[in-house]
Symmetry: C5
Subunit: 73 residues, 5 copies
């Protein structure tokens, strides 16, 4: 019998989990924007602006996951 | 060989998990309301009222996750 | 160095996991039924019956999760 | 202070996880087939054949999860 | 009382988790491409090219999960 030889840092797991939601979310925003552009091509500019806004808030959550790793080290 | 040096409180993990469902759920309600408003603009008032109702029940589940952390400490 | 002071019962975690699927599933059935009723209002009775049937099978899986906690204690 | 008294086999957890994807997948195939049949009733035979094909490949992944439990015991 | 007799390598778990997203993602791309082809059959060539492009980027993430197992061993 050997004791478990598990190495690694849970903070890396934490960042990994922190990217699940935003990873799907940013892609959802971009995908829906592409869909909306194809329906209303003349609105493309406004749609892209709104997409960037939505992505900014979503992306921030994942980037904070990287900061949290240092914060709770 | 060093023993695992994992620190932290499982209650924080519990609250984190408790926000997965409501986090998606509240956004789903708001997103579908925006979609419904665009289809029936004259119903906007009623749609917003129903949205607030749906969000209230959904949000409560996540907030109880914070309470549960103290309850089971 | 202190050893981990984690308390609690994995059976509670098991029941928590057992409600993920049925929780989404029952809501999916009810949501789709509401959608279907709005499309075919004269079918409302049959749709509600089918919904109850679908919910019964889905709900049972989560309730068995509570039983499993005692079964595998 | 008592040491953790956790009993059970991780292989059961493995099989449980192995059924998440196929469980949703098989239901997705069947659900979409029902939807497709309602749109093109005269294609019902071919749709059911394709559904069985899709379910076979999906179901196999979950059943292998049961085998994996013995394989890696 | 026996101590836990858990064997296995967390890198295998890591690869397993790494395939969740790409596994759904590649299937989503292929599924949407089939849907798009049925709507615009004359675009089939271009749609397949775009699908391969999307799959390539998605698949790479899962394959890197296999590499990561050796990288962090």
């Amino acid at each position: 019998m050997i004791l478990a030889e598990v190495a690694g840092n849970l903070n890396a797991v934490g960042y990994g989990i922190a990217t699940i939601g935003p990873g799907i979310g940013v892609a959802f925003v971009a995908g829906k924007t592409v869909e909306a552009m194809a329906r209303q091509p003349e609105m493309a500019g406004q749609l892209r602006t709104t997409m960037i806004l939505g992505i900014a808030f979503t992306e921030a959550l994942a980037l904070l996951g990287l900061v949290a790793g240092f914060l709770f080290s």
